[in-house]
Symmetry: C2
Subunit: 451 residues, 2 copies
Amino acid sequence: MKPSIPKGMRDFSATEVAKRSYIFDTIKSVFRLYGYQPIETPTMENLSSLMGKYGDEGDKLLFKVLNSGDFTQGVDFSEEQSVAHLATKLCEKGLRYDLTVPFARYVVQHHNELSFPFKRFQIQPVWRADRPQKGRYREFCQCDADVVGSSSLLYEAELVEMVDEVFKRLKINVRLKVNNRKVLSAIAGYIGHPDKMTDITVAIDKLDKIGFDGVKEELLSKGLQSGDVDKLYPVLTLSGSNSEKLQKLSEILSDNEEGQKGIEELNQILAYVGDSADIIDIDLSLARGLSYYTGAIFEVKAIDYSIGSISGGGRYDNLTGIFGMPGLSGVGISFGADRIYDVMTALDLFPSAITESTKVLFANFGYKESIAALSLSRQMRKAGIASEVYPSSDKLKKQFEWAEKKGIRYLVFVGENEINEQAVTVKNIVSGQQAKVSFSELVNFIEGNNL
Amino acid sequence: MKPSIPKGMRDFSATEVAKRSYIFDTIKSVFRLYGYQPIETPTMENLSSLMGKYGDEGDKLLFKVLNSGDFTQGVDFSEEQSVAHLATKLCEKGLRYDLTVPFARYVVQHHNELSFPFKRFQIQPVWRADRPQKGRYREFCQCDADVVGSSSLLYEAELVEMVDEVFKRLKINVRLKVNNRKVLSAIAGYIGHPDKMTDITVAIDKLDKIGFDGVKEELLSKGLQSGDVDKLYPVLTLSGSNSEKLQKLSEILSDNEEGQKGIEELNQILAYVGDSADIIDIDLSLARGLSYYTGAIFEVKAIDYSIGSISGGGRYDNLTGIFGMPGLSGVGISFGADRIYDVMTALDLFPSAITESTKVLFANFGYKESIAALSLSRQMRKAGIASEVYPSSDKLKKQFEWAEKKGIRYLVFVGENEINEQAVTVKNIVSGQQAKVSFSELVNFIEGNNL
């Protein structure tokens, strides 16, 4: 019986870890450059901190941890009305479902230790009992940067620049779609249905996929009048540059105060971001889980590879209200590491150097020779060169194959002759080229990649 | 109601994350230098992979994850005989309890993709439902390096050198205690009780704490004769250098083949490790969960701070046997990050630079000035200097205090005058010193720490 892991979970090989680390490290270094600092929260939160925060569907998708000890104590199984309720009796803890709710909890719990605006980033796994499918896992990493405690649009601009910088470093060409919840609200008012804002935004969010006819059909089914829905068409098909779009929109929504505020915010962000404005598309159909956001809404798409959004975020005016601390505005961005990984794999964007492991393997010719090899290997490492001595005096062919499989670049022979001559034979495993190098020159030779 | 986290779990602040990362990064860089490659396994394993691997006590300490959906299906609560059995009905998954069992599972599951000897490191959290107490958490990080598929003592030597290098880099003075399970077995035979090996090793493992009289008392209570126990005394109090100790031990155990083998292994390791022999103490009382190890046993103690062992490991001849693949010998070392953190905190060993965040804050004097500040801030970042613009034109005192609290080194003023003169005022927040620097010189000035 071959051992296995739970469905939707993954083992990561050394190559995969190296590639994933490359993505995480790139994101982290950009976060740091903008003054965001790392925090970490525990894998398990009190279930009471998580329940009700992600909707009914979310509650079902939470992984719950069985209480330790006698978890049946005080539970009358025959009396329980529902499985969901029984679960809360058996489990006090749940696994982190996202990084936003734990962050809100952290800010409220530690607010006396923090200075606001508080800028944090967090790169940690989250767990969801979703049905696993291609590209969707039950354990996956989120990479979030948020700032809480300021409503300054400079932070929206900062996040836009960070998105630009991260994807420039990863060499992924992207478009950053930007919208504003206030504009969406105004649009709902403009077509005469301020009360149907959710239906309207849910529908227009699908514009890309189902076209305007599809959007119209959906809205008619929600009880909107055909004439009202048609008023959306010119709004959703605004053309021109971002400022041209905003100019036209401003005319359309001229007598809506909230809309004007939203447009002003969008203009402001464009003014703040400098050259990063080049990646921005003002997109009035963008909504992203609207109930959450109150100002800017962001979403990033890769240009050269078709996959869902690879990053997204926005402003939410009441992040910490759910934990009893109202009035703290926040804005954040989240990078989807798995999709970024898929894009980079498909477009062959990972630098080859990142998966390099050991650079030098010393072949093993027996006890005496291995002592000499160990000493040389130590010199390599002192110079920062990853180096190993093959563990036993197996046939050279076997040692060579092991090095080849591990992706090692140089095989170094230290046999009896070499010890007598105080000079090793270095072989480049890929090219097959060989060279004789004195013991004392070896570090320089390897450092210089002279073969 | 202030939100909280489950007992035994921790939030980590930015400073704590920075310090912990320093430890992890140091360990990782040494692991890599010796050719160990990172793998990662999922947080959840099938409970069947974990149960029975850590003894009865371990089974109880496993965190179990409630099945998703209707977890009551097929469970007859009135028929269940025990809480433990009910748990296995309600839960198919458990949280990783250590890194060794998942590693064994990984090796068996992926053995076709691996080339042996396979050297891996793994730095991931593990979870245990232990009673929380000072220094003991329910979620903590393990840092393991293991090699599987070779019985070469070169690997024991490699691990010793890695221990030496890690603690040299962290500036912690350590002693590395080394013993060998074969020697322990021979000692049990030498005093006439080969069958009581476990009792004997459990008792002598406490020699440090309870002294020889305590050890004797414990062994008498286990049914050993006083005369036999007394034969232990000269063995446990061997003095001199490591090779002198081994020489004397070799005479004492002269007619025990297994003992001679163990002594030979210890001598071999001493010969292989080079200068790292300086940190080794051969310690015949060292046992560490003996049932597990079959050859070398390691344990590291900090010299300048009293705390349990901060690293440990050894050789186990049948790591993957539990998953149906016998005959693969392994040897490994594990670093205890939390204790290392405590030692470094107590001895003030963390470099101050690691907790530095943003280096430059541009004060905000209003819209026009912030546009100029944003542009200068971008120049900083292009040069790799972490930089921010304060988000709003608050009173300068407030901006200054925010920078101070965040540990920012330079506050830069870009007001109307500065824009006209194309020169900023730079203030060192700690020293209070100020300087006037032209826009074009600012990057060089900050890079050079000229204030």
